[in-house]
Symmetry: C2
Amino acid sequence: MRASELSYEAAVALVAEFAERLAQASHPTESLPFSAARGRILAQPLIADRDQPPFARATRDGFACRAAEAGNWLPILGLTPAGQPPAALLPPRAAWEIMNGAALPPGADAVLSYDQAETSGDPAKRKIRLLENYKIRPGKNLVAAGEQAHTGQQLLSAGTKLGALQIALASACGAAALHVFARPRVAILTTGDELVPPETEPAAGQIRNSNAPMLAAMVDAAGGDPWILPPAADHPEALDAALASVLAAAPTADLLLVSGGLSSGKFDLVQPALARAGARLHFSGVRMQPGRPTVFGELPSQSRSLPFVAAAGNPVSAAVAFAAFVAPLLAALAGRSECTPHFALARLAQATEKHTKPGLTRFLPARCSFTAEAALPWVDLIPSNGSGDLVALAQSNCFVLAPPSAQRIKKGATVRIVRST
Amino acid sequence: MRASELSYEAAVALVAEFAERLAQASHPTESLPFSAARGRILAQPLIADRDQPPFARATRDGFACRAAEAGNWLPILGLTPAGQPPAALLPPRAAWEIMNGAALPPGADAVLSYDQAETSGDPAKRKIRLLENYKIRPGKNLVAAGEQAHTGQQLLSAGTKLGALQIALASACGAAALHVFARPRVAILTTGDELVPPETEPAAGQIRNSNAPMLAAMVDAAGGDPWILPPAADHPEALDAALASVLAAAPTADLLLVSGGLSSGKFDLVQPALARAGARLHFSGVRMQPGRPTVFGELPSQSRSLPFVAAAGNPVSAAVAFAAFVAPLLAALAGRSECTPHFALARLAQATEKHTKPGLTRFLPARCSFTAEAALPWVDLIPSNGSGDLVALAQSNCFVLAPPSAQRIKKGATVRIVRST
């Protein structure tokens, strides 16, 4: 059960390695229509079912012809609008009127756009030729069949997150349904005698449970399927029963998040309860602020072990633990090929306060505005009253990472930020 | 009906101004539970229903006392765990054991944490005092009632997008349901005789309709409610009927997107159809590539006018028009306080090709990796075969904006990027 406190960097590396193993395990899959597939992860590579484009296609309205002949007067033998089969072989010294997106007649190797052509002859027997001083080369104003992709070519790899552009490509390949990974099921267990449901009027000494809806929304945003458990009271029996219910659940959970009950107090019962359930810890404590008591490990389950992250109960600690450790684990469980947390750089708009606890990596709630006028976006620190300050946290959209060694980071310094929402 | 071609910057400014007016109009609202509110826009300010925190709260486990007395041996008179009402007034020269998150007894002004205290006396009559060489000031290890927010204070403004942190704050305020703006309904009309549904095997000269699922996913991602209309054939009657069905729909659409039928060809019938429906155009053409034929205007409708954006039918043009013009309009219709498109800066990993059409702002499909090791993230141009190249587009996650004047942008140059997904 024992495991030691790690530095933030070591904890991130350990989780990343664990996530890589998770990602390689097999994950359940499902088929979804396009309309439900956005944000999901491809479980199979997307393969071109035909050439892209499937036929040589005009990219301008005009006249298909042979480029070498375009200086001569060419009779217009017919017209192909978009959506029609290509015409027969174009005879030498002839042109064929063609619309943007339509299939070229075989034999044609270029399209003379309307504004590059002069016309002559009576309306029934029109001829065209290239305007003087213009040049045209084979391939002009068309895309050859297969120029973008060939039948059988892999277009997207398994593990790709499906945005609108990927859904468009899949629909062009005739994938009426998309084979994606099922969303990992994430059990959320909040603990603490002081918690009452959000819709309740708290009595003296009580507070509303904001961690359960927060963690559920974070799980949802990260591609997981949140399962909020009834909050557990600060009693060993209540915690044992809650953990047992997660381990016995069908369908089984893929990840367990616990919040609360994790410092050194008399009622900090979560670590002992995890120990009784047979937990193997990968780390117990991270040298960061907030989030120092964060625990990461695995619980033995029927078929496979259940990874868990337990964080202190205050909202900023829980949000930091999610961004640092839960998000990469969830990405791996969801089958994503990229599992590391996404950092960005920004310029600090105010100096940080002095480090009261050197040796700890700090996460400072902040707000970054992406105006792109300056070389780097500015990030504003949000004055905060510590790790319980949900009011300040809700004004933030990121955390500034202050390294353990830094005494005070100056205004204008380049800092790393990690998204908090 | 006539309107002129604008520069990209002028078109963006015009849309931003229009969006601001849209945002000020009244929008329908609805109430949602927390679990369904993520990504939605607050329609009412969130007001603190009580002080935050609602009571003076310990932030460490330890002993509540008066800081000025902590150097003396103080008898421990009792214990308050989290969730219990605060104890009665603490007598002078006494301490009260207290758990992290619990309510302080009145009279106490500091918490001596376990590791700052020494204990003496038999277990039944324990006393504590501050360890030698330690100091403690009033306010230590506690948060005063109302220190983060006061009853009646506005915590989030209307127009705020609800992420997990904002949902957490709302739940702490007892907002069991969230009053948000209804998602704007966006009609999507794809046009073209060459289009067949994605699940169909295309005949010669036909292609699958990838724009409808792409635009629907983009609308969904931008907070709208997509309504895919049956694709319209390249016939005036078909287009008239399709536009009439949108204008007569109940519930009414808030925005109309049209793709296809917009260059200079014989079958480019969309502008005439819009004119027959009484369209007022704000611009007709933007000096950008791709997306030059993009049209923005309003159709007269029963109650109010229906704004529309019509883009060329190739996927890259449609995606660019969405990022540049539709996304800000949708944000305004959704009630968001921020309506401008989000740009970022990145460093170009490869030189661009020469500008074949100076005078046009170019959108180059690209992929940006946010590693945050360098001063700015690198952005890779994705080799593309023009505005029909959906295969290249689906590898991208952003567009590099190349200004109209630039001949060739050098490797390593700082460029603006706009998200494409």
